[in-house]
């Protein structure tokens, strides 16, 4: 009985709220209206997102690693002695044999060079996030612009950009990165730029273009054209904002591929960086501990971290896909 009344009264309440809302919005300055509407949209999307338990699992893992990344500088400053716990130049004097197994002082043991594994793990988290987010932003900026421009102008620009995209998705991605980083000196920023360019002009651009094609034929684009909006005005003010949900979704997938590529490249010892999860496994390999189950703490924490963070972003991306992609919705 209660269930029924709820269903009946609910729309009424919403209508009343909306009228009040409209009155309130009229009195506000424009920027506050925009902020309010954005906030409301985020709240609605969050409700949709939180229905999906798979996405919540991913989000939980991401938050866990974000806390680790933030905690490291704090621990280094006030709790851990830099001489012992520094992830790159520290040396644990209190252990006789290196690598030492996990103990109370070193929760995940030490590596063959006497450095604390937990500290390395937490220190690397920050650069993994930085790399992933930087690569994702570059990918999505290029991909969205390419997609919108190709869809809006069509013709020769479309042909050129799409042939370029065909060429890029044909490239074996990991192999190209390995060849590039073996021949050129690469650090994290260059790697992020290379990954961003390759996937922005490649796969991401193609997917976003097909979405932009459906937006291009909407009535409001016609209206903007009739009222004299320039091409670039229409692209940046009308098409790209409507592509944002899809772009955000593809950001998640590019974070996964960026973190994975970095880990593979540093596992092969091809990257010019100070510390990362892949490099930790590489260190264990070069010191000859790779196939020794007794020294599991050299490999398992780093390998597990790469896997967990990659799959977390992937899971969040899939959960967003069910919101953005209407064909997959439950209702």
């Amino acid at each position: 009985m209660e269930e029924k009344t709820k269903v009946i009264t609910k729309p009424k309440v919403e209508v009343i709220l909306e009228e009040e809302e409209r009155k309130r919005l009229k009195e506000m300055p424009l920027w506050r209206v925009r902020l309010y509407l954005t906030w409301r949209e985020i709240r609605n999307n969050w409700r949709l997102f939180s229905e999906n338990k798979i996405g919540l699992v991913g989000l939980g893992i991401i938050i866990f690693y974000a806390i680790m990344a933030i905690a490291h500088p704090i621990l280094m400053k006030w709790v851990w002695d830099p001489n012992i716990y520094d992830p790159i130049v520290g040396y644990s004097y209190d252990e006789v044999l290196q690598p030492a197994p996990p103990s109370f002082r070193h929760l995940l043991g030490t590596d063959p060079l006497g450095r604390d594994v937990l500290s390395q793990l937490m220190y690397s988290t920050r650069s993994e996030f930085a790399l992933g987010i930087l690569a994702a932003i570059i990918t999505v900026t290029i991909g969205t612009t390419v997609g919108a421009v190709a869809a809006y102008f069509g013709g020769i620009i479309d042909t050129l950009l799409m042939r370029l995209a065909d060429l890029i998705i044909m490239l074996p991605f990991v192999t190209i990165l390995i060849v590039l980083s073996a021949l050129f000196k690469m650090n994290l920023i260059i790697l992020a730029i290379v990954i961003g360019i390759l996937s922005g002009f490649g796969g991401t651009g193609i997917v976003i273009k097909s979405q932009a094609l459906t937006i291009k034929v909407r009535a409001y684009i016609e209206a903007a054209k009739v009222s004299g909006g320039s091409n670039w005005h229409i692209i940046f003010r009308h098409i790209i904002p409507n592509l944002m949900p899809l772009s955000f979704l593809y950001m998640m997938f590019s974070v996964t591929s960026a973190i994975f590529s970095e880990a593979v490249l540093s596992f092969f010892g091809l990257l010019n960086i100070r510390m990362s999860w892949g490099l930790m496994i590489h260190t264990a390999q070069t010191a000859g501990y790779l196939l020794n189950p007794k020294t599991w703490w050299l490999i398992v924490p780093a390998g597990l971290s790469i896997t967990l963070l990659c799959s977390a972003f992937y899971l969040v991306g899939r959960a967003l896909d069910e919101i953005v992609n209407p064909r997959l919705r439950k209702r």
Binding site: L167, F173, V174, A182, F184, F260, W277, G278, T307
Partner: protein
């Protein structure tokens, strides 16, 4: 259809040309002079050095070398490898490619079968705990850090359980007195697998329109005949134990690759199934009162299969991409490992050759995927 294929072939030739030019100049632009690295071996005398330089054409200007490279590529000559000197790049590829193809084709087919059947079940049980467990498990395996996962598999199955060998692709002691080399056996394994699957496909195709009892009988008989044919070929040949040795080494890498890759197929199948389930014919099938299993397998899955098959063919083209990692972890001396070693040693002709091989394979895969799609889906007709 034919015109479409021809036009695509023309496009592919142009794309391949652009790709090769891009790769050539990219490799030339790398810092440091690889020719100097190679030629600065102190054991070489001055005359030898000059002779080698002239032989590789390293004393020529860049554009002339580029034209010469492209010219010899058309004749099927990819130059001479620095690292495997004096072997030619083509002979190195011909030696290593069958190993890679055998490993990855087996793994891809297995992960397709596993992923497709798992995806069917997943779409049917949407919202249940079973779906969450399988999705999270599958995605974790799909995005797993491949080298680490490979090592874990070696730890568990080779070190602790002693079930499989640690790496490599043959047991050296067994092969010491072997009458043939490993590649001879490899190519025969590949050929017999190819012939057997072709025969199986033909049997399935020929019996498609028959009634149920006759179809079952004929298909069973066909499978038996194929198996008998394989045994008749392999048993008297005397190299069976070497082939079995290779297959024994194949199990662990194939298992690893299948576990990593099946989730991609599974999630794709699930999404495709969910889209197909909204179609009207599914409702019609339900209204007829067909059992759920029949609706799932015969009505939804058949129609949801198209994008999955295309993606499967497309993924075959990218065997080399994942190959670099897996082959390194399992010390499987295929194309991927060769390419990595060549890149680290700055063996530019070999790197170039590996990329030519991969690029051609990827492009052909692209073409085959397009044609299959048009063949399978009558709604799409290329003119």
């Amino acid at each position: 259809m034919l015109r479409y294929v021809l036009r695509r072939l023309g496009q592919i030739v142009i794309t391949l040309f652009v790709f090769l030019t891009l790769v050539y100049f990219l490799l030339e632009a790398q810092p440091g002079d690889y020719a100097q690295t190679f030629l600065s071996n102190p054991k070489l005398t001055k005359e030898q050095r000059e002779a080698l330089k002239a032989q590789f054409g390293l004393d020529r200007p860049l554009w002339e070398r580029y034209l010469r490279y492209m010219g010899s590529l058309l004749k099927g000559n990819l130059g001479i490898s620095f690292e495997h000197y004096p072997r030619s790049v083509v002979s190195v590829i011909a030696e290593r490619a069958p190993r890679t193809i055998l490993l990855f084709l087996t793994a891809q087919i297995l992960s397709f079968l596993l992923g497709f059947s798992a995806g069917k079940v997943l779409a049917w049980r949407r919202g249940q705990a079973f779906e969450y467990v399988l999705t999270i498990g599958g995605v974790t395996l799909y995005t797993v850090f491949t080298p680490w996962f490979g090592l874990m598999m070696i730890w568990i199955f080779a070190y602790i359980l002693h079930l499989f060998p640690v790496g490599k692709f043959v047991t050296p002691t067994l092969w010491r007195g072997a009458p043939v080399d490993a590649n001879y056996v490899f190519i025969r394994i590949l050929l017999s697998a190819f012939v057997a699957s072709l025969a199986l496909f033909l049997v399935l195709l020929a019996t498609r329109r028959l009634n149920l009892a006759l179809r079952r009988g004929l298909r069973g008989a066909g499978v038996l005949i194929i198996l008998a044919g394989l045994l008749a070929y392999w048993l008297p040949s005397g190299i069976t134990r070497y082939a079995l040795d290779i297959l024994y080494h194949l199990i662990l890498p194939v298992m690893t690759l299948t576990l990593i890759n099946f989730a991609g197929m599974m999630l794709l199948t699930r999404n495709s199934m969910l889209e197909t389930m909204r179609e009207d014919f599914v409702m019609a099938a339900r209204a007829k009162g067909l059992p759920e299993g029949v609706i799932r397998d015969k009505h939804v899955a058949r129609n949801a299969m198209l994008p999955v098959i295309t993606s499967f063919i497309f993924s075959i083209a990218f065997v080399l991409d994942g190959g670099v990692i897996t082959e390194t972890v399992f010390s499987w001396p295929g194309m991927g490992l060769t390419l990595l070693e060549a890149a680290v040693a700055q063996d530019i002709p070999m790197v170039m050759g590996g990329l030519v091989f991969t690029g051609t394979l990827a492009l052909l895969g692209h073409l085959v995927a397009d044609i299959t799609y048009a063949y399978l889906d009558p709604r799409i007709r290329y003119t």
